[in-house]
């Protein structure tokens, strides 16, 4: 190549590149740009406190569980292998295995404890998901994108709390009345509690918290110093499930 040709080409290339920043002046996006519409809301950290001295006082109360099942279109499948659960009750010695011992208070040992997704600070389910169908939002909620879930169930294996369920079959026939406000799921995806992110977006409390008339469930932003959860956590002794794993659950229990 001649020196002259090289210079010509170089000038042409550089002038071509220099047009790029102004290219948007000549084209229009197909539809309004969504990234501009995103608002920076500050960063809350949602957490829940289950007060076990109040919860379960009323024998066999399932108000919170029923409310969640109803608004999230959770199927009622009797076969435990296929059952789908977002929030449910389990005996204390199963939930807090490392806190249970031989001669402990029998009432407490058999007490039913409310369990749900812990929305961990270090969620193992997120680390293993190969498609990023589950991820931790900026406000700490561990979300599921059912559109993207391929049903590999790695997350079910990774979750130390058994908080995730797989849809082995089409859930629709098992839903008594479909709530139009929330989609159902489809066969072949994993699902779990979403901390009612669709209600939080509307400034509402999670359905379970709202349904509990005894005040046994407290929900709020731990980053806010005057929030009720923050006050309870800073004044009372609370326990979390399997803290030694380092997942940092955001569902706390007070006895």
């Amino acid at each position: 190549m001649k020196r002259r040709d090289f210079l010509k080409l170089a000038i042409l290339t550089l002038s071509g590149i220099s047009i790029k920043p102004f290219a948007h002046l000549f084209t229009k996006p197909a539809f309004a740009d969504i990234s501009i519409q995103r608002t920076n809301k500050g960063l809350p950290r949602w957490a829940m406190v289950v007060n076990l001295s109040i919860c379960g006082k009323k024998d066999g109360c399932t108000d919170c569980i029923d409310a969640c099942n109803r608004i999230h279109n959770i199927p009622r499948i009797t076969n435990p292998k296929h059952a789908v659960k977002w929030i449910w009750n389990a005996p204390f010695d199963r939930v807090f295995r490392e806190q249970s011992f031989d001669n402990m208070n029998e009432g407490l040992r058999k007490k039913s404890v409310l369990v749900l997704c812990n929305h961990c600070e270090n969620p193992p389910c997120v680390s293993v998901c190969p498609t990023k169908a589950t991820w931790k939002r900026e406000d700490g909620i561990v979300m599921m994108d059912y559109h993207r879930c391929i049903g590999c169930r790695y997350c079910i294996a990774a979750c130390p709390y058994g908080a995730r369920s797989f849809n082995w079959k089409d859930p629709r026939p098992y839903i008594k009345e479909i709530d139009k406000g929330f989609p159902t799921r489809t066969q072949g995806v994993v699902e779990k509690c979403n901390f009612c992110e669709e209600r939080i977006a509307k400034n509402l409390l999670p359905a379970c918290v709202e349904a509990c008339r005894e005040g046994g469930l407290i929900f709020g932003d731990v980053n806010k110093e005057d929030s009720e959860v923050r006050k309870i956590l800073s004044t009372r002794l609370s326990i979390r499930r399997k803290p030694h794993l380092g997942t940092e659950p955001k569902v706390y229990y007070i006895l």
Partner: protein
């Protein structure tokens, strides 16, 4: 050329067989068939322009899906300046009430099977 007769007859038979479906559709008038979706609303404008929605609604819905699920943003500011709630059941199907007559007519014609309704809910029109 050997066996000219056989080869040419063979080619003609092949061509006739190949074009039978086209001829059939042409004679029965199916070739000019155009699906007629029932819009289901007297509203003059959709979220975006009519032309855009007709050709690119799937791109918009895909973008909407990402916006709500991945970014937690539930409002869409359209180019006409109005803000819409991103909700396929609440916003789209509020106007286009009849899924069978609105969505399915074109989708069936085009041979596409979107999986929206495996999970998302739409109002069943009475009597069907």
């Amino acid at each position: 050329m050997y066996d000219r007769g056989k080869i040419i007859t063979g080619i003609i038979i092949f061509l006739v067989l190949l074009f039978i479906p086209f001829l059939y559709n042409f004679i029965t008038g199916k070739a000019t068939y155009v699906p007629e979706p029932v819009i289901g609303t007297s509203e003059k404008e959709c979220v975006e322009s009519k032309v855009f929605m007709r050709t690119d609604h799937m791109k918009l819905l895909d973008e909407w899906k990402e916006t709500v699920v991945r970014h937690g943003v539930r409002n869409y500011k359209a180019r006409n300046g109005k803000t819409y709630t991103i909700d396929i059941t609440g916003t789209c199907m509020e106007c286009h009430t009849d899924k069978e007559k609105f969505c399915d007519r074109c989708h069936n014609y085009a041979g596409v099977e979107p999986k929206c309704w495996n999970c998302h809910v739409y109002k069943k029109v009475a009597g069907r």
